[in-house]
Symmetry: C2
Subunit: 333 residues, 2 copies
Amino acid sequence: MNDIARLAGVSKKTVSRVLNNSPFVREETRVKVNELMQEMGYTPDPQARGLAFRRSFLIGMVFDNPNAQMVVTMQEGVLAGLKGSGFELVVHACDRNAPDFLPEVSAFVERQKLFGVILLPPISENNALVEMLQERGCHYVRMASAVIDEPGNLVASTDSLATAEAAKHLAKLGHTRIGFIAGPPGFRSRAERRLGFLAGLKEHGIDLPARYSIDGAYTYESGIAAAEKLLKLNPRPTAIFASNDEMAAGVYHAARQLGLSIPADLSVVGFDDTPVSRRLWPPLTTVRWPIHDMGRAAAQHLLNAASDQPADDDNAVFPAFLVERDSTASAPK
Amino acid sequence: MNDIARLAGVSKKTVSRVLNNSPFVREETRVKVNELMQEMGYTPDPQARGLAFRRSFLIGMVFDNPNAQMVVTMQEGVLAGLKGSGFELVVHACDRNAPDFLPEVSAFVERQKLFGVILLPPISENNALVEMLQERGCHYVRMASAVIDEPGNLVASTDSLATAEAAKHLAKLGHTRIGFIAGPPGFRSRAERRLGFLAGLKEHGIDLPARYSIDGAYTYESGIAAAEKLLKLNPRPTAIFASNDEMAAGVYHAARQLGLSIPADLSVVGFDDTPVSRRLWPPLTTVRWPIHDMGRAAAQHLLNAASDQPADDDNAVFPAFLVERDSTASAPK
DNA sequence: CTGAAAGCGCTTACAG
DNA sequence: CTGAAAGCGCTTACAG
């Protein structure tokens, strides 16, 4: 920086002003300094800037999510959004049920003086965490399945609309006895997906009796267990909606054990459109949500905050939608 | 830090010495300072330390790997190993085929003054990258499928031994016409898995004719394409080894299209033991390697370097091994 | 619009 | 075994 200042014939301070887009620099000076920085391949030291600013140029991604594909795709989306910004992404896996969960994350944020954090579900739904971040003056973006915060602090998919679509898809195929495998309590997406599905059924005058609705845990094994219960019912459901793909894979397993053919005997719908949905046989009808784009949007929210730009309200909600493949067909007569 | 120094009645410098485990501190002073730090909940500012040290307390994870589950599990392993060390993990996805791949990673390392980086395959096999890191004085650990560096810079699985085991497993089941789907050129694991498999077959006097060996790309689609070619051969192979699980899933797809039953008509073996291997039907016989432990070991290598401890030679090679499930059975008569 | 001084929180020589 | 001075590379007041 000293070199740049010397060569440009200005003070260190002026170089700093150019770096920080201060309006108090003559256009001529700005251009000259910028050119010199380009030439010399100069990039400011983020640690030194951070020390002076009393905050770092790091973004944290805090997660405790079982869906690996989701986590990686989200990371890649965020990294794409952060590219060239000078901010870097620090990952922080944690255990939301640990007794020191909150103080642990708090210590992380404070020690690294994070500029902001991106919260993945279900941690993103933890209000105590968000309050802690606000107190620390740490920016944040919550990834969620519904609108649970202001647009500037949120990137959400429309889970309930998508599951309503799924319900209507099944109803149109003539299914009336439909099984539902819910997500686990503690995930907002459990409620969103459930409520949307019920609403979609209702439009077609279809009811979901309590015994046709079983709680799962978003795991393969829980999908098997839930499907076994549902397929034991009399009369048996002709279709099952599983609140994620992993559980839908469990439904496939249970159906196969019982000699049921998909989709002839049983239609199945999942949620997430993870790679497994295309590895299953037949390929799974499921709900897709734009994880990569949402990660990029989260990064953009944070960069807006960093440059004091207003929140981009149009970049907060992303539609999820049904992808029809071969696991759904007309209800058996 | 000033507070601590004042309360302890020593200079800032002495506190610093305690922090850095300098031997030149009286035991009594050390204990007193440590107690005070504990009491006050003091943690040194990594940015300030970094600025003075001319390097940061950040570890980079550089990757361009298609296996999301692997990436996340590796991250979690590294984070577990780094926990409490004061080091944080910065993720850096990149495109190994981009023209500015090397300068881009180089700029990242230099700008952040990374203490070290962890390289995931296939990037870990790039020698030009490693030379660049050495020149920069940046510590590194290569994750690999074979011993390609000194133990202190390496965490490797024993891919070739594991595929030899897989080959012998198939041979013992009576298979003699075996198809092989290789990984793509540019991955060291391609050669390791191939050579090990050939060696295993050889032990049983079995040959792999060229037309029974097809190149894949570690993707589902490439697995389908390769399997279609193999299953068209006359005589048809009674078993197929796919160099990863994704391609094995492709083999399932192709077999099903042809009305072949697994394992009655065709035995299948994969590699990676990703979740998909248990979602397939029947569950896939595959090779497991201890990704989480390997991530933790990589972190440990870097922490050893940070505390000037000698490399832990016994913590560099991790055995991969066959997990027998239901996709392999005796060769059809 | 621009600059000289002081400081962010730590560490490295250099003395003692 | 311990301390006073100078510095890491930047920014924030404060002047002009």
